[in-house]
Point group: D3
Chain length 237, copies 6
């Protein structure tokens, strides 16, 4: 039995709250249980130098954690003077995941920067970030559409993410911190609304895992992400 009493294929309580920022063009406070991430999408008129003049836009992401989002206080990255390897890895993943469902030419010469800041962490911050970031990004694009800054469809699909792992020998969905710390294998999946795979990251924490185990994790992920995409759809009704 899981510490959280959840079934093997059961997500934590997930909520997506839109419009939580007075300033941002799009925003979403996403909660996967006790993991809370504030996602804001900011429209910027300038694109990166290497894109200028190409009639294409860009979507990028940054990720951060408040120092006491975690059980023990971590040092503030701004005060340390650099972002950790883990932070950079996550923000690159979020950016790639979002760009996989954006038509950068339809966006036009704009950049959208999505900030995912973890207010409270309990495992799965990167998957919650991606899931919430899509909502913030979507609202930013609608904000632009309302002002005729984009005319064609920009978002090609939904994108959401979930972690799976093998916990005490059983494949389970959506690991919280306690499970994540003890899991033998940890995998993150990023899928589109139509079931296409955008990103797979699987890591053996202890013993290597088998192809069958991996297939079981992927099966769970497809189920979980299907549910997350439904929640995204409901949130924007």
């Amino acid at each position: 039995m899981r510490p959280s009493k959840r079934d093997a294929d059961e997500l934590r309580a997930v909520t997506l709250e839109r419009g939580v920022s007075k300033h941002a063009e799009g925003s979403c406070l996403v909660k996967f249980g006790d993991t809370h991430v504030l996602c804001t999408a900011s429209l910027e008129e300038r694109v990166p130098p290497w894109l200028r003049g190409q009639q294409r836009g860009w979507v990028t992401a940054e990720y951060g954690m408040l120092p006491r989002a975690t059980g023990e206080r971590m040092r503030r990255e701004a005060s340390v003077g650099k972002q950790s390897g883990r932070t950079q890895e996550i923000q690159r993943l979020i950016g790639r995941s979002l760009r996989a469902v954006v038509d950068l030419e339809a966006l036009g010469e704009y950049q959208i920067s999505v900030d995912c800041d973890v207010i409270q962490a309990d495992g799965g911050t990167r998957t919650a970030s991606i899931t919430g970031a899509w909502v913030a990004l979507r609202d930013c694009i609608e904000w632009m559409r309302a002002r005729d800054m984009v005319t064609k469809p920009v978002l090609k699909d939904h994108v959401a993410a979930i972690s799976c792992g093998i916990y005490k020998g059983t494949p389970v969905l959506d690991l919280d911190y306690v499970e994540d710390s003890a899991a033998e294998t940890d995998a993150n999946f990023v899928l589109t609304g139509t079931g296409g795979i955008v990103e797979i990251q699987g890591t053996a924490e202890g013993a290597p895992f088998t192809e069958d185990e991996f297939a079981a994790l992927l099966g769970l992920a497809k189920k979980g992400i299907g549910r997350l995409v439904d929640l995204q759809k409901m949130s924007i009704l």
Copy 2:
């Protein structure tokens, strides 16, 4: 008339919500109108090197802003690689303000780090931070007391802060961003619950100001901080 329709001596709606963090020993989400700051107090067993072995504790503070807390997205300090002068100035002020009401010997050889992270900014982030930080600090000390880590009184008094300014020739209390941008003079006051002055910072943005104007600002601040201390008291009933 103020853009916010408030009277000259009227605070914005202020709320202090305790216990907002699952992990921190003390926490408070403080709102001064649209300025929202999450304050967490973290207990750490080690004190700074220069204090070791002296049977005294330390209280320190760090301050940060989410990149899109503001009207225009700012660069993330962790990604820039250093904290701005403004950030450092503010976090030093918060730390000094809290220490002014803490008996460091009664605290014993512990450090409490208070993080003030601005979730949304609309002027007055440093004064909201100090006001909320006191509540988070207080709850952290009570957490320690419940575990017999402190026995004597540690907090000597309340401390809270407010900004005042001269806006279109009139001294007003608790500037929001629109007023702050246009104010001729901007001053921040940090006072204790018993009315003692902990810190005064007054700056002429345009023309220098007079002694009488300054006295008017101080008068407003005393009134406003009295009200903030009342709210702190109610929040911890």
Copy 3:
């Protein structure tokens, strides 16, 4: 009685020596007793990016301390790799103080950078810096006037600064290091030649202070700054 035997309202010996740099457009070696600061004003043809094309100039300041300006050698900031929060706070204060008396439009599209480098420290380095910086800035502007780079009046007034504090219960003027270390309250005042207040910073080092105490400090500051402005006037005769 003060350790320095001075009266409560007595400045240290203050000298302002102009033209001490072979290269700078304006320069002043200011001494407040054993506190010695070399101020140089450097004319630069380019303004900061955000000011370009606006027909306005800019005045900025940087502050530094030689490593052995103090009783114990401090680490060199260039070797540490960053400026401390204290350094940034001081150089921002110097810049704001100077700009309060400069007509940036009359200056035209030039930047003047004033460097205040503490050769020897004995308390009051920021107030000595501001007082000497005004002289260096003034000479730089005269250098420009002699070359027809400015035609209208650029400096609107004098500006000078002094510290005051409550030492063993008595308000005193112009704290030296020994007094500063022991003072219960420490305040820095920046005033113009005509008595306008540019900046006030008051900090309770131990117990909070009262409004009356603060008024006494302001009274001393007005007297001291009046004398400093007289010395500035004599120095440029």
Copy 4:
């Protein structure tokens, strides 16, 4: 047809040259075609602070590229002043991959640092690094064994890595730079000698990919890594 004329399931010419460093306890120059990586394993007597006194060792990795390893010269990370997100991501992957086959308790309280420096790059630098790093690590452990620093088996298995991708609609093995730049999907696999999965990273560069496509890539990877493990075995005969 592939630009390199290789069959879809054909590796580039792979060589593993041991003992290439006069100083390192273990070393291997690995070549995957024109991708050349120098791997050195350095024995260090001290473990990271968080491991001290636990009778366990640690294996870590660092990754770098010579500035002109690539077609266009890149800025030297030492001169830029920080490692890129990509560099950090890769060196974390190498370290995790090696640790998956090391018995850290059998290693005892030592740290082995494996440096993977890309002398010349033509795609697949991270997979070549892992494959060569295993050989360098193995020789370092044998060096220790010859000196009785370890007695029990430390290496539990081989580990090697390969990239696969979908190039013009066809799944292919071991992408070189030209193929990698044009591939629709890119995946890296890290497997043990007995076929266990240590790490999977799959990324859709353009359109999302399907579960079947992913299965095809995994099939190719198993075949390629089997061959790489054979080459490792031959190299240490």
Copy 5:
């Protein structure tokens, strides 16, 4: 007798291997015994900002050491976040030495960056770097000539470098690491093919040295560099 059994005026085995990089416009792997340095010359179309529009080019150099090039592993400069003073000193020396034999006007508005990366170190890395860098630079210029990017002679002469030192009282040529660590005096000489002196750096490691000793070292250097220039000539036949 020298630890290496060499005569006092005997170089280590020196080899210069050209064309070792698939990508660089010029490259040379230089070996002075067990000291191995990979030199690559990279052509860049842009010159430094202060040279733009002057119809002149620039030659610059960067130097690095792989972490385990040395007997004990050194920390990676990219991970430390800055280049050491020693690294900067050496790369400035290499750059100056190369520029001494280049006609920057004949080069035209191009920059050539020469990277010298020490693969294995056994003393004399800076002198090997200069000697090999000349070959890489020469091949880069020939690459340009073949494409009509330069027409006039660009290289005015050969340049090469060698260390000398006083080891156990005797002046010796081309110190290896063991000799270098024990030498009383260490000097590096950079000379042109026609015997002109480009750079001399002599340092007393222990007792100061005399004018006669220095003359003996210079005599050895001239002999050794004559031989190195012969080897350069043979390498480019």
Copy 6:
């Protein structure tokens, strides 16, 4: 004729003013004409980690320039965030030069840090620094002797430095900035009081130089340094 009207073998006016710092254990303001350097020697009770417990001391040096020490204002290194290669090269040279005349065992387990800060620059800042640093160091050691912290002789000899160069074809002594900028060859010599050579650095700025030219420069240097050592002796009478 030299721009300064000096004879070829004539130093600028050199003064060595001791005791210029209220705080430092030894200090000297050295002037070589318009080049002014403040040298302070600071006694520190701790030695670098790698020297601990060896009953030996250490002498180190740091070098800096005030931003407007030069004709054009340079960026402040503390604000840039790192020391330039030139700065590091010079401070390493000063440290080596001083250590060449110090008996580190006689010094005992103390570190003396000598700071050389250029107040005004007109060429030759490194040679003035070394010459003045010796005086500051000597006074620091005498300060220790007066407190019985050292008993045996610590300073083995004088050390001083001078630049020479070939200006318009003529070897000249002690280049000022104008000469230095135009010199074909520039060399710095560090010699002891008894004429031993501690350090030689010769650089061809344009065309390489000959052995005879170098001998002429060395001859001038010996003469000039003899005079500087006389001035050091007079200063400490």
